[in-house]
Symmetry: C4
Subunit: 387 residues, 4 copies
């Protein structure tokens, strides 16, 4: 742990950095972007693009997850979201978007979201959603919170899930007391993530973590991937305002990548994937996240502008639905009529000057201009920090 600042007498803090603080510096022979691979593989599952969606109802309908999969990315549905609680989710989101559109007070939409999440989880609805994705033939990934994982996982696997995402806004692993899945209160009984994972037949991605130690602990539980970050998105997530907790992503990704190296050594060769979740909005952010050490990245706002996203141009994190302490709001990222095909957001071609379309193409060109041909190598590209 380096670069400590003594900000007051006898009290130190570590200096940390955001993705926006770093830039990629090309300094090698360039190459054609056609000779670059952006492929990513976790366990037995291979993807053309190292991209997942944030497990929020704004993105994770079964239909949207299927489209993600068909386009080479990994769609994740939220096992505790609206599709697990309501029959007619489209109408519910319609009500929500109407409120967000017409009521300037952000609390009104939050209140409605809280109300929608107050309905209980219906295992049949959840299983139906999972089956729908599996039946479409794409890799089927479902997110559960740590506290509901034991109760929900059997049904989810039975319905066809191939990857389980155990995900809270902040997670710990040691003797795992798992705290908060972002939209409900906690259960009293702690989850032992290590036992839980070893008893499962499918690989688990767990997170989010914010530091090297917790990342290493989660790797030791047997997780195939660790999510770093809490999905920070300016204007949508408010973890800093509400909790005073922050996770500058450039530092957090590099720390988790260091944990990956440490665990690779201590485990005699097990490679746990680092998946960055936060502050990745444009293709340049995606390139920086990989460059800082991530194997793959979670997109939120970027995908919310797609025509197939259930949020109709609005984005919100699932923590916005917490019944007592919401940590997010609804953010409009596109007018409903201006939304574009998910394929264009992921694979282009782009006519957008700001890197919001053709995210994978932007990553590919960044790699090519910096002279790298695959993601793993690109994690070593030179970086600069704006002083």
């Amino acid at each position: 742990m380096r670069d400590l600042v003594e900000f007051g007498m006898g009290r130190t803090a570590r200096r940390t950095y955001e993705l926006e603080d770093v830039s990629i510096v090309p300094s090698r022979r360039t190459r054609s972007s056609k000779n670059v691979s952006t492929a990513w593989q976790i366990d037995a599952y291979r993807f053309d693009s190292p991209i997942l969606n944030h497990p929020t109802d704004a993105l994770g309908s079964p239909e949207a997850a299927i489209e993600m999969g068909k386009l080479g990315a990994l769609g994740v549905i939220n096992g505790e979201g609206l599709w697990a609680r309501h029959e007619n989710v489209e109408d519910k989101i319609g009500e929500l978007v109407d409120i967000a559109t017409n009521d300037p007070d952000p609390s009104s939409a939050v209140r409605h979201l809280q109300k929608l999440h107050a309905a209980p989880i219906n295992p049949d609805l959840l299983a139906k959603a999972v089956r729908q994705v599996r039946d479409a033939g794409v890799t089927t990934a479902v997110r559960v919170s740590p506290q509901h994982a034991p109760e929900l996982t059997p049904g989810i696997i039975a319905a066809g899930a191939e990857l389980l995402v155990v995900h809270g806004t902040i997670i710990s692993a040691e003797h795992v007391v798992l705290v908060d899945r972002g939209d409900e209160e906690l259960v009293a009984e702690p989850l032992n993530l290590k036992t839980f994972i070893s008893d499962l037949d499918i690989p688990v991605i767990a997170g989010g973590v914010h530091d090297h130690r917790t990342a290493l602990h989660l790797m030791r539980t047997g997780a195939a991937g660790v999510i770093v970050g809490y999905g920070s998105a300016e204007g949508a997530t408010t973890t800093g305002e509400v909790l005073g907790i922050g996770v500058p992503m450039a530092t957090a990704i590099a720390d988790a990548a260091a944990a990956r190296r440490d665990y690779l050594d201590e485990s005699g060769g097990r490679y746990v994937h680092v998946i960055a979740d936060g502050d990745i909005h444009a293709s340049g952010d995606l390139a920086k996240a990989i460059a800082c050490g991530a194997d793959a990245a979670v997109l939120g706002t970027a995908l919310a502008a797609s025509a197939s996203a259930p949020g109709r141009g609005w984005y919100w994190p699932s923590a916005a639905a917490h019944p007592e302490m919401p940590r997010g709001a609804l953010l409009q990222v596109a007018e409903e009529a201006d939304r574009v095909a998910l394929d264009v957001i992921l694979n282009g071609p782009s006519d957008d000057p700001d890197g919001l379309l053709n995210m994978v193409g932007g990553l590919r060109r960044s790699m090519a201009k910096a002279g790298y041909s695959d993601l793993k190598e690109f994690q070593k590209v030179g970086l600069s920090i704006r002083a």
Copy 2:
């Protein structure tokens, strides 16, 4: 005193940090927020929440102080404010708020505030206000300025005050010449704070201080608590613009906490509480203030949005009333109709995405996610600084 910068030849300054520069970094096992205590005790008085109100008339009516007490916090009334000068304070504040609402020139409201404060202090009115709080059965705290403390304190205690807050925007203690209570000129005769406190039967909280040395000096006077900061609130206080004086709160709190440790040692075990007063607007700020070393915190703008705050949605520091050199202005923090119950501001539940409601719940969850179960432990949580 560390991290000195030679900003010009032969002239140095210390590098200092604001609360907004620091973030809390969870790096331990998490725990349930239900197992977290936010209780705070000073002298014989115990509170569920480590929260006081800034002693401004915008917050400190007897009724509002009573409600603070009933909700587990500490209400402080201003012994030299409008309740000590006028019979019909509600009307006076009505006039003030009308001017602030209708006249875009901030000087107009300041002028009216100066006029309202030009009325003399009426000891009977003051005693009546104190008695009203005491009779309600909550801990009764009254603020006096250093220069009026000798003359006003006997009557205040006789009326039932249990805690005395000796408070100027900047205070010193050594051979104590006390300068400025923020709304009036000084008295010629200095106050010896040490003698003054030792002659009293009730505990004293004194401040505000800005640095380690003055904090230590005030601790040596026998104070039970020391306030650090001057209540900085962007848009309301203007001490920096008017005096060039600044007190970055993260550094100032940590320095005062160091003084607390030093004094604990030199006194053979007397623990003087450090109370942070400045830049604490949302629950995340409150968590950071404790994390930097504070035992409790003073809220200003956050409480001004409550339905029971006398300022009708407006906030101002008492220094805005200074007759010659005002150092603050009126700031609207809520439309009158949009104000919420104080209970919701303190204890939730929240539907606000920005951490302005359920302040104590936000603190509690921050502690739980970082793995701490009481305030004293939480002062050691890991922190990062945005570079």
Copy 3:
């Protein structure tokens, strides 16, 4: 010269600081502001307040200079400004202000200013303006540019000037080739400032300088005071945009104060005053300038809001009139009807929350709260730098 940054390979720059980067930190016994002196003396001339006006036509009419003097400050008239070129200056400024008010393109007012300055200097008009100030019984100070100093000074002294201000936006002294008085082209013949000053019977203030070496050189010419800075005022001066030249004032003042100490030693006791000119808008800035090491300060925008300032609420630096390369624009600092008495700007009382009124009172209170009783001592007050 310390704190060098190697910003590129083999190329270094010094890290420098603005007044807004520093804050005053009270850490001593406080004192009453009534026991504080803000008096300043240069040569035989004593002033209640350490304040001069920037020598621009926006501030320096004979009438305004007289009022400055009567209120305890030093008024400076511009010996090469409009009063030296036109009979009916009030009308000319009226035209200028009309254009600035009605034409949103800032170039229109600059063009008119260039035209007004194209008229030749009339020695009789200049002498009349100087006499008017002298006849009023206040200290009479006149600014000339380096290149016109030899030709204009005899007449100025004959008309009664007591202090000569030799002033260009940037000045050097060694074998003095003097460059630019901000509104006209250069003369071929260089001025030897040392010979020039030694031949005069009245004291000279010279500047502006930006660094330690030039400050020291000017002190060696025999100047009684050295101006540091070029009158930087955001929205009015544009030296950075036009020339790429910058002078962070906190660093520049401290460097000039170091030159003062060095020269005091090498001269065996001659004290040359350091006068800060730039970024001083509110009373807090004034306090910081003294705290960084200045003996006195030049005000620009702050004085332009006075009812007696000839600019009718508008401010501009004289460099805005340069015929080929203007380095400034007209900035409105007050509506004509909202202007206040100069006395209130300097000495209060204030009803302005932002430190724009009672500038001297703000300085006095800052000194008192920090525990200092005169300006010379206050140059040692503790400072912090926001990281």
Copy 4:
């Protein structure tokens, strides 16, 4: 490579600086701006001003290039731009500007630009444009992309080009695989820049490079000049957003100047010119670029405000036309009616307070005030960095 930051565990980045971070510090005897030379010579070609235009169609019509040459600067036409693809370019740009003016969605203009660039290059049109410049008697410079250089260069030279600019947004040289000319896909066959240059009879300027190593490699290919930067212009270029690639210009220029020194030594005296291309909008930026080590500078937005620029007050980089991954947008820098003569932009006189007119005069005055008489010396001027 110095000033490394360990931003995460085991991962470092270099701290870098923008032109806006640095300021010129005058600290020598000043001199008259009349005694200052801004002349620049590359190979046999001498220019009064060290200025080129960015090779975008927004600036580089044959007529505009001729005017640049007649005014002492170097005009560059884009050998792969609209003049090489269409007969009636003025009409095409008219359509483009109409869309940009009337459609607030920046993608609409980008789409039209993509469409205009989809037309094939017509060698006859290109030759005609080159001949037009050559016939006017000014130095004739043409830009080609690395991948089209072999096929287009013979015709360009036959038509009279005297300087060839081989230019991609990012270029490498070692075994040169050249990637991207900003508006089209790549060719499979790499260009060996060294062989290519040695076979030519005219000098080559190549770029853009971002770091010391690539600059040195390009110098070794035999280039007469190396362009550093990618023409960054806030609001117009979006390389950072799209690719995550950044090149802080103060650092990049100094690094390239270090490469120039290194190559001068290793080559036994060959001086390769460093030409800065990015973030140079006002005369102060131009002065800073030279001060950081550049021999000459590329202007973009500054020239787009001229009456003769084909963009009618709009600026865009050629990378905005890329068919799949545009990295720029159209930016209006002047209303069509407010455009000024190119002569005034370059040589004044100015009535603009912000350094947008009389760019060369601003450079000249900056040099004079800092005491330097030619560009080469001025590369050593003192610099400060705002902390």
